[in-house]
């Protein structure tokens, strides 16, 4: 033998996908939303927030890995993706230090402490957001109105919450506005300004087979059904399902956060349960909880149940069915 050949276990061919490619796909899918988001809130401020979130994530990932003497993995795009998702979850007029801190928190306590990509039990971007939300409730709920850039602390969700809290009913003037929710005009998270861009991005990911339909469908479906039930019971107190779907972070959550590979179940059945749990918890927290928005909490809560769901939904192995005939 003059030349040694390669030997490895079968299969000797590969589909070609890599983790980095999939991450890039997610970033591509987010680009339209990012563009719309930046555009709606006045180019400069949101761009800075976005950039700082990404820098916070990537720099802390690189620094952590450098200190621990590990290979630097910021090239795989997962830190950048976390940064973008985190930014989309923050008010576009956030102070600079908050964006940076959020990025660092997301990567350090959300991901690297557990050993890096693939081992984190919770969605890093949501950890970042939730840490900020609980730490700085005022700054995290100071929103801007799209286009007019007027500073407000009101979002449709908080309007409804406050009104119901005070009077037990949604006042007519708010109700009248709710119809226009589809077309923006409200302050608040991303869902308001670019619900359709998010859906398009989500569909792109499903088409690219980066994610499957299970989680988005069961998330949105269960949120729709549950809110529809409440709405049908008392429409003066509970807002309509369409309102729920297109406000807050629900679309972003359903397509981009709840579908995060690492922190969600791997079995299709588990994914359905996961999505349904997210949807139900979101609506319950929105309607009855102390916080006006529940997407982030519900996804984190379901993240913590992921290992259990995986265990309970282990597929029945081939050949276990009893023979017919």
């Amino acid at each position: 033998m003059d030349k040694t050949l390669y030997i490895s276990s079968s299969p000797h061919v590969h589909e070609g996908g890599t983790t980095a490619k999939a991450m890039r796909d997610v970033i591509y899918a987010l680009l339209p939303c990012v563009a719309l988001w930046i555009y709606s809130f006045g180019i400069i401020k949101p761009s800075v927030v976005m950039a700082l979130c990404i820098i916070g994530c990537m720099a802390s990932e690189a620094a952590w890995e450098k200190v621990r003497g590990l290979p630097i993995t910021i090239g795989d795009g997962s830190a950048a993706m976390t940064g973008i998702l985190l930014a989309l979850n923050m008010p576009p007029n956030s102070p600079w230090w908050m964006a940076l801190l959020g990025g660092v928190a997301a990567i350090v306590i959300g991901k690297q402490v557990f050993g890096g990509l693939g081992y984190n039990p919770f969605n890093p971007a949501l950890i970042g957001r939730t840490v900020l939300l609980i730490s700085f409730p005022v700054q995290m709920t100071t929103w801007m109105m799209p286009r007019t850039h007027e500073i407000t602390s009101a979002t449709p969700l908080s309007d409804v919450k406050i009104a119901v809290g005070l009077t037990g009913n949604i006042p007519d003037e708010i109700k009248a506005q709710l119809g226009s929710v589809l077309f923006g005009g409200f302050g608040g998270q991303l869902g308001v300004v670019s619900g359709f861009a998010l859906i398009a991005g989500g569909c792109y990911l499903i088409y690219r087979k980066v994610i499957t339909w299970h989680i988005p469908v069961s998330f949105i479906g269960s949120a729709f059904v549950l809110s529809a039930i409440f709405w049908a019971v008392n429409s003066s107190k509970y807002p309509s399902p369409v309102f729920h779907l297109f406000t807050g972070g629900l679309m972003l959550g359903a397509f981009f956060m709840a579908t995060d590979w690492v922190t969600t179940p791997i079995t299709p059945k588990g994914m359905l349960i996961f999505g349904a749990g997210c949807g139900i918890l979101t609506i319950l927290i929105r309607l009855f909880g102390g916080y006006p928005e529940g997407v982030a909490f519900s996804i984190l809560l379901m993240n913590s149940a992921t290992p259990i769901i995986d265990r309970l939904t282990m597929p029945k192995k081939f050949g276990l069915v009893t023979q017919k005939g």
Binding site: Y6, S10, G118, I266, K317, F318
Partner: protein, 440 residues
């Protein structure tokens, strides 16, 4: 046409166009060529050499006799002189017992071989002929056929399933055989039906071979054989998946096809059975596809058992570019060979040459739990979880996760974006579980 299929699996690019239109050619054998005939070319006990150095053997003569029930004899593939009986480099990359024959170029048949009319034979006589001809599963598993045809009394067999799926990419040997020699296959099927005493025989063919489906349908008409068109989906040709696709039955976990009333045979095996019973020809030749990015001229060849892979490649115009990997069998389940000196065996359904650049060298990354492997797995287990547990040495956990049900089709590894050699971990787990069970 409604296509049948199973659940799970995936669809790798089949790359069959390189060789599917090429008619089968005979790979030549010149005087003085060495044939290295391994004594273990089947699953089960190796055969024992019954010739010695210096003996002259004729084509088709028995050179090694079976030991035990799950074993078959080995025959000389050509006439010539036995130049040694010694361990030689085998398929698995280690040295194994072999008989080396130097061809005399005459290719003289052993005159003792004779055929018979299957209608005049009893089932047992046919089975004996099949065993004596050394027939094994030609799909690559090389399980002795006569054993498969002898189910225990209490297993009622009602289906004979013929595997013409050839779901492995690149390979076109079975495809060409069906196109060029349908009568031989059908003859074999009729014999197999008689041995098993079944009424129903189905040939499963993937829809990417429409010409074969059409031809076989026509040829089978009126002879009690159905043709089932199957969706192009890997691993459609895996025994359990094929049975499910064609009959809707699931082979019980840990069981055999006979446990759900089926016997599966490759179409190539059927042809070999026909040759053996009607014409008395033992299994000394087979059809193999030589293909891959590093082969000059991909071809389908009729090869002699014992020819070194290098000879086959040579006949196909030799290798081109920088050779990176040699694969015996298909790219999904085939084994990488250490050198072109390795001889072809009864299980060599193909020889693929991959260029250096085509070798997968990406390092294993961390599992990102995308779930691709779970969705692709036709055995419905969780490959990544098992791999993870195996990596940590938690063999009991791996066993609880049904590691033993893995059919090693490679779908999980093919689709894994983190490039984890999942199947290797699964094999490791299976090995460890078997070792543990033996100990207890």
């Amino acid at each position: 046409m409604e296509l049948k299929t199973f659940k799970g699996g995936l669809h790798p690019p089949d790359n069959k166009a390189w060789s599917e239109k090429k008619a089968i050619e005979v790979c030549p054998l010149a005087e003085g060529d060495e044939l290295v005939i391994l004594l273990s070319q089947h699953i089960g006990a190796p055969a024992e050499a019954c010739v010695k150095k210096g003996d002259f053997v004729k084509k088709g003569q028995v050179i090694a006799t079976p030991k035990g029930f799950v074993s078959v004899p080995i025959h000389a593939s050509t006439s010539g002189e036995v130049i040694s009986v010694e361990p030689r480099l085998g398929t698995a990359g280690t040295k194994v017992p072999a008989v080396v024959i130097k061809a005399d170029g005459q290719d003289t048949w052993d005159e003792n071989l004779s055929g018979a009319d299957p209608d005049t034979l009893t089932a047992q006589e046919i089975k004996d002929r099949i065993r004596d001809a050394g027939i094994v599963g030609m799909g690559g598993a090389t399980f002795p056929t006569h054993v498969k045809l002898s189910p225990p009394e209490d297993k009622k067999i009602d289906h004979l399933i013929l595997n013409g799926v050839e779901c492995e990419p690149y390979l076109t040997a079975d495809h060409r055989l069906m196109l060029e020699d349908p009568d031989n296959i059908i003859g074999g099927i009729l014999i197999l039906k008689k041995v098993l005493g079944v009424e129903k025989a189905i040939i499963g063919i993937e829809a990417n071979k429409p010409d074969a489906i059409e031809l076989m349908t026509k040829a089978c008409a009126g002879r009690g054989i159905e043709v089932g068109a199957l969706k192009v989906q890997y691993p459609q040709g895996a025994e359990k998946q094929l049975i499910y696709a064609l009959t809707g039955r699931e082979v019980p976990s840990g069981g055999l096809p006979m446990d759900c009333g089926c016997v599966v045979q490759n179409v190539g095996t059927a042809a070999a059975v026909n040759d053996a019973v009607r014409r008395g020809i033992p299994l000394i030749e087979r059809i193999a596809t030589v293909s891959g990015s590093a082969v000059n001229e991909p071809k389908n060849l009729r090869i002699k058992i014992g020819q070194p892979l290098g000879k086959l490649v040579e006949f196909c115009g030799g290798a081109k570019g920088e050779l990176g990997k040699i694969i015996q069998g298909g790219p999904m389940m085939g084994m990488a060979a250490v050198s072109l000196d390795v001889p072809a065996t009864r299980g060599t359904s193909g020889v693929l040459l991959f260029s250096e650049g085509q070798v997968l060298k990406e390092p294993e990354g961390p599992c990102v739990r995308c779930g691709n492997c779970v969705r692709a797995c036709p055995a419905f287990i969780l490959p990544t979880e098992i791999a993870f547990k195996t990596k940590k040495g938690m063999i009991d956990e791996a066993e609880k996760l049904n590691a033993m049900d893995c059919i090693e089709c490679g779908s999980c590894t093919y689709i894994c974006p983190a490039r984890i050699p999942l199947i290797q971990y699964l094999r490791q787990a299976k090995g460890a579980i078997i070792a543990k069970r033996r100990k207890v």
